[in-house]
């Protein structure tokens, strides 16, 4: 007896047909994914690739070189802007993580009058258009005659304050969400075992908050590092940050030097994200 035709066909195909949830094996799904990746990453890859292009202009490939990295490295203005940006990002991240965590704890832990209004007020910087924040900051710092001619790093104080004020709400939101999953019984158990409020915070609450803190800090760091609008309004005449500097360079022409500097920034961000994810993963594994 011969096998029926469909049967033979299926055997020829070797692999069984995709199951109901095997979306990854549908052609249309793969095409959509490919398109997504192209749109997302093609510009970035081009940017990085052309930073190695041995040509003044970013149009045709002329050969591999690292001279634009060296050039960027020797561009004092660019390095200064870069240092400024990193300094601002590190300080504002540290401060906004602490403030954000405290706001989250306060909102999670206590009940007080007008709590809803307070919570909304805290989240306001997330929704206010950046341009409004920028103008408001500008008005505030000029009204208060905030000094702009201090020595480094104090000349960055206005920008740092502005960055803290728009990034701590993000930390607060992330940490608050994390706290919502905290089981109060752990806190009670710790107290029952003799821990003071402070020890409870240190030994039980903070370990639980850690993933939220890492995520929040990362968010604050990237927000600060690439902020343009608010920084533009709050920086004094002589302080330049990386995005502002790039903008002024691009106004003349997009040289591979800009590409190189941007590629370095991307590398730093990627490294940070990878570290954060690694830390979070390790914490998660410990919990499990």
């Amino acid at each position: 007896m011969r096998a029926p035709p469909q049967h033979r066909l299926r055997r020829l195909r070797r692999r069984p047909p995709p199951g109901p949830l095997d979306y990854g094996r549908h052609l249309w799904m793969r095409l959509t994914m490919l398109a997504t990746f192209v749109f997302l990453y093609a510009p970035i890859i081009t940017l990085v690739a052309f930073s190695f292009n041995d040509s003044r202009r970013n149009v045709v490939w002329r050969g591999f070189t690292v001279k634009y990295y060296l050039k960027a490295w020797h561009n004092d203005g660019l390095i200064e802007a870069f240092t400024n940006s990193l300094t601002i990002a590190v300080i504002s991240t540290a401060v906004s993580t602490v403030i954000g965590a405290m706001v989250a704890l306060q909102l999670w832990r206590f009940r007080f009058p007008f709590k809803g209004a307070y919570e909304g007020g805290m989240a306001l910087p997330i929704v206010i258009p950046e341009i409004c924040m920028g103008v408001a900051m500008l008005a505030f710092f000029s009204r208060t005659y905030w000094p702009t001619d201090l020595i480094w790093p104090f000349n960055l104080s206005a920008i740092i304050i502005a960055h803290i004020s728009f990034s701590f709400p993000f930390v607060a939101v992330v940490v608050r969400a994390r706290l919502a999953s905290f089981n109060r019984e752990f806190e009670e158990a710790a107290k029952d075992l003799g821990a003071s409020e402070w020890r409870v915070l240190r030994d039980v609450l903070l370990p639980h908050m850690a993933p939220g803190l890492v995520a929040g800090a990362l968010l604050a760091f990237t927000l600060s590092l690439d902020d343009f609008v608010i920084t533009f309004f709050t920086s004094g005449p002589d302080t330049v940050t990386f995005p502002v500097k790039i903008y002024s360079m691009v106004r003349f022409s997009v040289t591979p030097e800009v590409n190189a500097a941007s590629a370095v920034l991307i590398a730093i961000t990627l490294a940070l994200t990878a570290t954060a994810m690694f830390l979070q993963n390790r914490a998660g594994q410990k919990m499990r």
Binding site: K191, D192, L193
Partner: protein, 359 residues
Amino acid sequence: MNNAMNNAIVQVRGAVKTFAGVATAVDHVSLDIFEGEFFALLGPSGCGKTTFMRMLAGLEIPDRGEILIDGRDMTGVPPNRRPVNMVFQSYAVFPHMSVLANIAYGLKVTGVGAADIRRRVDEALQLVQLGGLEQRMPAQLSGGQLQRVALARALVKRPRVLLLDEPLSALDAKLREAMQLELVKLQHAVGITFIIVTHDQQEALSMADRIAVMEKGKVRQVAPPAELYEYPRSYFVADFIGKMNLFHGRASGDGAVAVEQLGEIKIPGNSSAGRVGIAVRPEKVKLFRDAPRPGFTAFKSTVDNIAYHGSESYVFATTESGAAIAATVQNESRDSKLPAVGDSIWCGWRAEDTLVLEE
């Protein structure tokens, strides 16, 4: 039963706790719990057992009344300064700490020296038979092991009183029985006062030296298990503990009670006139072919149903006056003869086995 029972280690006087918008969770509870005792709080869900325990631990502050532990007034004393430790219903073993770190935690935060910690943790691990699992994380433990960690973590502090909130409810029947035995053994070994919350009466009866039965925030009766079983004082307790034939009636005040659906019966002792509950345990009810001799309170009945339970059978019968009576018959030999459904029999019990209850 333990012997050193004259020294009250926990004294509760008129404790009240009301949650805003909810009924009173603990309603004027006064209790003495003695040193070295295994004390059980028993009651239906929501009767305030957990709330009462949490008040002892300091996690809930009573609205009124006072709590003395070891002779000291606990008003205003925070949980971390009370000589009690609690095993939580969900164990609350810290997920980010190893078994060792969990057990050592209570000693570490109170500044016990490292060498001392090591020794006491080892002892505790031995006590709950967790040796070899010190380095495991809680997520890698079974329910029974987690429970032992929670137990060891509390015991290692050597509290004056150990509070256990339904410690066995998360375990399967077999492990549960084993742990019941172990808990009793453990309590004898360490000599610490144990207060255990449970809504499983079998658990309370088999483990505790004394049991407090709670209903709607009130303590209905405090007694040793046998007394609670044989001499329940109120209708609620009689109904809650074990199986019971229960009737409502009216006492005449001269040693007789007019029982609804049953008629007038004689009661042991006396009772002042008024509404009473009348009860008798099914295993005290005997079945007779003919009217039994005097001294028995007996009723002519018809067998409705027989439920076979292996070691015993339940015979359900209805009296001529329409009252339902259940009797337990031990299946003492393989060919134990049971009446058949529809048989006409006499259900009777010795007059002194009749219980007279507060309504």
